[in-house]
């Protein structure tokens, strides 16, 4: 790369040409306040004016996020004019912003509040007209509060980049502009898949998950038997909320914290994941043997299921009928476990901790109720669990490492752990399918060819003693669409496809801790490029550490089938563990 010479505050530096002033300054050790720390092409409008600096010879101050460096450029970040302009930019933004920072759940992770502190902006400096605000809390997954929106457009870009969808857009113009689904509809009345990727990039509290902490509090106070179960991807990320480096698995401490919050049982959803593999693997083998609809597509991700029901309902027969792991486990907790304990199903309350906001929607599905009782009663995101732990005064890093509860359904295999990353369900299924077809264990256990940690399509041909199974993996709807269109056109060469809603899978789910460089000062500058890989590694190492690494070898799963379900895909298994799907209208009639 060519280099250029620049000066910052009169000091000489050599930086790569082609960088913006903001990037060049960062390389030289300066953090210019900005609202596009998430600058992955997801905000490049230069419209917020928070990063203004003085450039000698330039007409007026320049926005450093879009202004490229050039040879001999002399930059001043601390020029009084620039300092004052940056402060004013933020003050103007604050003048039309909701003032409930105290109770805002984004507090502590709010980038607007951060730049306000850094620039010294004062609230109420400009008393002006307030634009009209809208509040949407109809959707089970997401809440939208335009009084906190700064119109940066990151959410719009993320929806397009991750999914090729664009549910959100700017409506109206000028002072009346706001961000919303078309017609200012609720997320619930538009073809939004409620994946929460927009929440992950929102710099303020304008887009948030629909909190269910109050519901869990009420259940804990009610005297019900409250059971908590946690998805694999949560352990790989929740440590970030307590200052651990990105990619640290904090499984033992997370379990200890949950126990201290007063839950009667602390289970790992991995048990449910192992059961899912037994059911889904058997379903796949059945389809292969009996000429069933192929390729079969996984059904663990509720964001993906939403997408399928809205956009590809003609392909519903391709979806596995398996419930997602936490729904399976919820159904088993309210039947198998409750029976053993002598509890009535209605006296058991199941809380799932998920890296996901679409799961909040999923648990409300009519198809996921048995005799009118939902399999799962409340879904907390990774972030919400962290909030509950902090609220309870638990000092997370001083907790001992504890083990999951294990009575009749605690044990789990390494195959369950890797469900949390794209390709994981596929690999877990292949480990078991191989065994069922050959009666032997796959020598090296791992099917590394299906592994990854990002969006995009991966494919592999697995030779199972003469039978070739062609598989493909996609995460993010943009990638999934390619595979789905192949099926529609009758050109798909696969037998089995794994699709996850979020790019990279659950490790990058819409309910995971926010990855914001300004709040992660100990991480490298490229953390936005590396966090998915780091979280994925944490899961793969936990898999490696397990003595049992195939779902069919999980002793509790074996016992479950012997004592309760009979065999995979039995009548009872179908009643409890399988579900159905239905086409849905994207922009339905709103009354």
């Amino acid at each position: 790369m060519a280099k250029v010479n620049i000066k910052i505050e009169g000091v000489d530096y050599q930086v790569e040409s082609g960088l913006t002033i903001l990037e060049a300054a960062k390389a030289c050790g300066y953090e210019i306040p900005s609202l596009c720390t998430f600058n992955h092409g997801e905000c490049n409008q230069g419209s917020c004016r928070v990063c203004l600096v003085e450039v000698k010879g330039a007409r007026g101050l320049v926005a450093s996020c879009v202004y490229p460096v050039s040879e001999g450029m002399e930059i001043s970040i601390s020029a009084p004019k620039a300092v004052e302009a940056r402060r004013r930019s933020v003050e103007l933004m604050l003048s039309n912003h909701s003032k409930d920072c105290q109770q805002c759940e984004k507090n502590g992770k709010c980038e607007l509040l951060y730049v306000a502190q850094v620039t010294g902006a004062q609230e109420g400096k400009y008393e002006g007209v307030q634009s009209e605000h809208y509040f949407d809390e109809i959707a089970p997954g997401l809440v939208r509060d335009t009084s906190k929106c700064i119109l940066c457009g990151r959410c719009i870009e993320r929806c397009k980049n991750a999914h090729g969808m664009g549910i959100l857009g700017f409506e109206n113009r000028g002072f009346k502009t706001f961000v919303s689904p078309a017609e200012n509809r609720s997320f619930a009345d538009s073809p939004c898949i409620q994946c929460g990727q927009c929440v992950n990039v929102c710099p303020t509290g304008a887009l948030m998950e629909h909190s269910e902490i109050a519901k869990v509090d009420a259940a804990l106070a009610s005297g019900k038997h409250v059971v908590i179960q946690t998805a694999p991807a949560v352990r790989a990320a929740i440590g970030e909320e307590f200052g651990y480096p990105v990619g640290t698995a904090v499984t033992g401490k997370m379990i200890a914290a949950q126990r201290r919050l007063g839950f009667e049982r602390v289970y790992d959803v991995n048990f449910g994941a192992d059961v899912t593999i037994m059911e889904e693997g058997t379903e796949l083998l059945g389809r292969l043997k009996n000429g069933g609809v192929l390729p079969m597509i996984t059904s663990c991700s509720p964001g993906w299921i939403n997408y399928a029901e809205y956009n590809y309902s003609d392909l519903i027969p391709h979806l596995s009928t398996c419930k997602s792991p936490h729904e399976m486990q919820g159904a088993l907790i309210k039947s198998y476990w409750a029976e053993t304990m002598g509890y009535k199903p209605e006296d058991v309350f199941v809380v799932s901790v998920m890296p996901c906001v679409a799961k909040k929607f999923e648990k409300e599905r009519e198809q996921l109720k048995v005799n009118g009782i939902p399999d799962v009663d409340a879904v907390l995101t990774t972030r919400e669990l962290a909030r509950m732990i902090k609220r309870a005064g638990i000092i997370f890093n001083r907790l001992p490492d504890e083990e999951w509860d294990s009575d009749i359904m605690g044990a789990y295999s390494g195959a369950g752990v890797i469900f949390g990353v794209t390709g994981g369900v596929m690999e877990a299924a292949l480990r078991t399918v191989y065994h069922v077809l050959t009666g032997e264990e796959y020598g090296k256990i791992e099917f590394t060819e299906v592994r990854g940690h990002d969006a995009g399509i991966r494919e592999a041909s697995i030779d199972i003693k003469g039978t070739t199974v062609n598989v493909a993996i996609a995460s993010g709807m943009k990638s999934a669409k390619v595979l789905l269109d192949q099926i529609r056109a009758g050109e798909s060469k696969y037998q089995f496809i794994e699709i996850m809603g979020c790019p990279g899978g659950c490790i990058n789910g819409g309910g995971q801790p926010y990855v914001r460089p300004v709040f992660l000062p100990d991480e490298d500058d490229d953390i936005l490029d590396t966090y998915k890989e780091k979280r994925a590694k944490a899961l793969y190492s936990e898999d490696e550490r397990q003595s049992v690494r195939q779902s069919h070898n999980n002793p509790d799963v074996k016992a479950l089938y012997e004592k309760f379900l009979g065999e995979p895909n039995s009548h009872k298994a179908h009643e409890l563990l399988h579900t159905s799907y239905a086409a849905r209208e994207g922009f339905n009639e709103v009354k």
Binding site: M165, G169, F170, E171, N172, R173, S180, A182, S190, F587
Partner: protein, 163 residues
Amino acid sequence: MGKLQADAVRTIKEICGRYKDERTPLMMILSDIQKEYGYIPLEVQEIVSEETGISVAEIYGVVTFYSFFSLTPKGKYVIGCCLGTACYVKGAQQVIDKFSEILHIKPGETTEDGMFTLDALRCIGACGIAPAVSISGTVYPKVTVDKVATIVEEYRAKEGAAS
């Protein structure tokens, strides 16, 4: 969806097809639909979205950004009062207020009989004849408050004669 008639769907698809080689076809498509039907409701935007791959939210954003596009049907006669700087200082606000008073509608609305829509326009480039009013293509120069009633009557009479 499903409310649109088959021939309307066909026409909209045909309009989208006209600009399939354009790099940014959206404005042209919406412009043609607006001219053809007088408005661009969500059901129509969904078809445009399917045909062009542009998201419904983005199309909706464009439709609500430009005052030329409308989400609801416009009247037979669209009265556009210029409120650009020159017209404004020459009293255009009083002119549009008078139209509002006589027609019992606010700017942006349509009369119940579907006859008139009142629009506030930004500069239409006729500053020399300010304040200017444009009614379905006919421009009225130097309109004053006391001329408003006569103009409205002119159109009502035309309609009366036709029916």
